[in-house]
């Protein structure tokens, strides 16, 4: 009723406003995609369609190496932060111990602290501990800022968790390890998944902390792009960006589809 009661003018206004918001959000992305197919090297005018830049991109070993490095760092730091973060969340949920509140508060520090500070801090720790700067130091650095996010998402999931399900499993003969693997982990899996996705995305596009903790041979994709921008961006970077956008888009669509199916299943089951 509210909808049909709207005047034509109001509807046009609403549509126009929404269109502007989406234009604002997606126009830059569209430009990148568009210019990745541009025959001109200069990204001012679109001169003609070509797939050449995708070939150039594939041939740019430095760029490809940086992408590989990024994926290695992101995967490893995600894995590390998911393991540590999930265990921390479960432990803090289940046990009441001295200093629990303090640990809780301290978890927010890496989230709110300026990245520059965290970057410098990590750099000095690595040099103090004689950790060579490279992939390993970056993995550790990325895990450091990702762990709190995993703890938060897993803990959000745990807040709706009925602890008596664990007791029930134990009552039925499952030992602690079996309870954890068969009951706890499956039930907090959505939280772990969300935390992993956050950690992965945070790691993939991190520049500041990577800048401080990278070594000579461990250039990541964002750092490489930064470096290339100084001498003007070449369209092969657009090509790689377009591919990354496509992959991201696919991931988002898939996860939404899974969620939708899950929700529909639950609605269907609701009594």
């Amino acid at each position: 009723m509210a909808k049909s009661g709207q005047s034509l003018g109001a509807r046009v206004r609403n549509t126009a406003f929404s269109a502007l918001v989406y234009l604002f959000l997606y126009a830059p992305i569209a430009v990148i995609v568009l210019f990745s197919f541009n025959t001109s090297r200069r990204n001012i005018v679109f001169e003609g369609f070509t797939l050449d830049w995708y070939g150039v991109m594939a041939g740019n070993t430095q760029l490809m190496d940086s992408l590989v490095n990024t994926l290695i760092v992101a995967s490893c730091s995600t894995l590390l932060s998911v393991i540590i973060g999930s265990l921390a969340a479960v432990g803090m949920y289940r046990y009441r111990f001295r200093g629990r509140a303090a640990i809780d508060a301290l978890l927010y520090i890496p989230v709110v602290i300026p990245e520059v500070v965290l970057g410098i801090a990590l750099l000095s720790v690595f040099s103090l501990a004689n950790v060579p700067l490279g992939l390993l130091s970056m993995i550790i650095a990325h895990a450091t800022f990702s762990i709190p996010f995993v703890v938060f998402t897993v803990r959000a999931r745990l807040s709706g968790f009925d602890a008596s399900t664990e007791e029930a499993a134990m009552d039925l003969g499952a030992n602690r390890l079996q309870v954890f693997s068969r009951i706890t982990v499956p039930l907090i899996a959505p939280g772990i998944g969300a935390g992993a996705m956050l950690a992965f995305t945070l790691s993939i596009d991190d520049i500041i902390i990577s800048f401080f903790t990278t070594g000579a041979t461990s250039m990541t994709f964002p750092l490489k792009v930064m470096e290339m921008v100084r001498s003007g961006v070449s369209p092969d970077v657009y090509a790689l960006s377009t591919i990354i956008i496509l992959v991201t888009f696919a991931v988002v669509v898939t996860s939404q589809a899974i969620r939708y199916r899950h929700q529909k299943g639950q609605e269907h089951t609701g009594t």
Partner: protein
């Protein structure tokens, strides 16, 4: 009543403390094989803690728990041959009904074919055939309850522990499930230890009832004995409705004359009462009689304040000269006292239970504190508070060392429950 010779579960001097909070106090309880035993009490009385100690989710602070004659202190919950039905059902939401019920067998590495067969059997037992593939979120409350029961009996435990399993169901379904559970228990021959705060539920289902009150086992007996012969004032008050009169005893042959603030009354002498001892007389509303003439041995008068029609019977509230209110019920069709008129009240001496007051003296002292200056609002909040802090201020009940003034014969207002009164006293101080 099932009489079995051997105790399948035995609690010996079991204590449980959470820091300052003494939740279970020196509990001794022997549960017979094959019986349906209910642990009944208000919230915070320690009944769930007791159950959780038997299951192994809580460790007793001291004392011993024996299951099948063996101490279980060192056994983890998954090593104990008891299973639990949880109040919240605690079904595994990510598993189907089949997987839920099969869980216990899977943990025991039972062969697949046998698992299928036994799950079918268990589901048939709780009338849930055809629900195997459903998820818990697709079930109603009653169905979830049945799955929880099927899951708990799949391993054929010697003892099934049930923690207020019907608490979340509506009244009608609860009544139906009560009968079903009872039938199931008889059929399986498993010992049921059933925790509830619902006295009617306990009376309907149990072979024996253990009434708990602030961590103490007040009485362990058959339902009819609990109802007819309550051992403590708390039991008399908690199970059904009771009129309780405080007074001083004077044994005279087979009867005891009790002098209360409202007048003299009679009760049967079950022995062990001393001259001048402080006692309580507990009379059920349906045993209380009225007449315009005084009866031999009774000197109790009450004015009818109101009559309330409650379906099959009529409930009359009478005000005694002491200010105490008593409740009298008459069946529909019987003579009913007229509102506003005064009557002599009496009962068969054998219908009155006389309770030793020693362990309870402190309550009456507290209840007799003049509270006239107190607003009803303060009382209400004190009552609400007592439910939560009940465990904390329980100690006086067993103290037994009350001053002589405690033995004053004035009657306690029937409505005021002892712990609530204690709380009020505390608030006042």
């Amino acid at each position: 009543m099932l009489m079995a010779s051997q105790a399948i579960v035995e609690l010996k001097n079991v204590d449980k403390r959470y820091g300052e909070n003494h939740v279970v106090k020196d509990l001794n309880l022997a549960i017979n094989e094959g019986e349906f035993l209910s642990i009944l009490g208000p919230s915070g009385c320690g009944k769930t803690t007791t159950l959780r100690m038997i299951a192994g989710f809580e460790q007793q602070s001291s004392g011993t728990i024996l299951v099948e004659g063996e101490p279980v202190e060192d056994k983890e919950p998954f090593e104990r041959n008891v299973n639990t039905v949880f109040q919240s059902y605690a079904l595994f939401p990510h598993m189907t009904v089949f997987e839920n019920v099969a869980f216990g067998l899977k943990m025991k590495r039972t062969a697949r074919a046998e698992i299928r067969e036994r799950v079918q059997e268990a589901l048939a037992l709780v009338q849930l055939e055809g629900f195997e593939k459903r998820y818990p979120s697709q079930l109603s409350g009653g169905q979830k309850q049945r799955v929880a029961i099927a899951r708990a009996i799949i391993n054929q435990p010697k003892v099934l522990l049930l923690d207020e399993p019907l608490g979340a169901l509506d009244l009608k379904l609860r009544k139906q499930m009560q009968l079903e559970l009872k039938r199931l228990q008889k059929r399986l021959g498993i010992t049921f230890v059933y925790v509830t705060h619902d006295q009617e539920e306990a009376l309907t289902m149990s072979d024996r009832i253990a009434v708990m009150h602030e961590g103490i086992l007040d009485q362990l007996d058959a339902p009819s004995r609990i109802y007819d012969f309550p051992a403590t004032r708390f039991v008399a008050d908690f199970i059904g409705e009771s009129n309780i009169f405080d007074g001083l005893a004077s044994p005279q042959g087979k009867n005891i004359v009790v002098t209360t603030e409202a007048g003299r009354v009679l009760g049967q002498n079950s022995g062990g009462f001393e001259e001048g001892e402080q006692v309580q007389v507990s009379v059920r509303p349906e045993k209380l009689r009225f007449d315009s003439e005084a009866r031999e041995g009774f000197d109790l008068e009450g004015t009818v304040r109101e009559n309330i029609f409650v379906g099959t019977f009529i409930k009359s509230i009478l005000l005694l000269s002491s200010g105490q209110e008593v409740v009298l019920t008459s069946l529909s069709g019987q003579a009913v006292p007229e509102e506003g008129r005064s009557y002599h009240l009496f009962w068969e001496p054998s219908d009155a239970v006389i309770l030793h007051s020693r362990s309870q003296e402190i309550w009456s002292t507290i209840a007799n504190v003049d509270l006239s200056g107190f607003s009803a609002e303060a009382d209400a909040s004190a009552d609400a508070g007592s439910a939560e802090t009940g465990g904390a201020n329980a100690a006086p009940a067993s103290a037994g060392a009350a001053s002589a003034s405690a033995a004053s014969a004035s009657a306690t207002p029937a409505a005021a429950s002892a712990p609530a009164a204690a709380h009020r006293q505390k608030a006042r101080a």
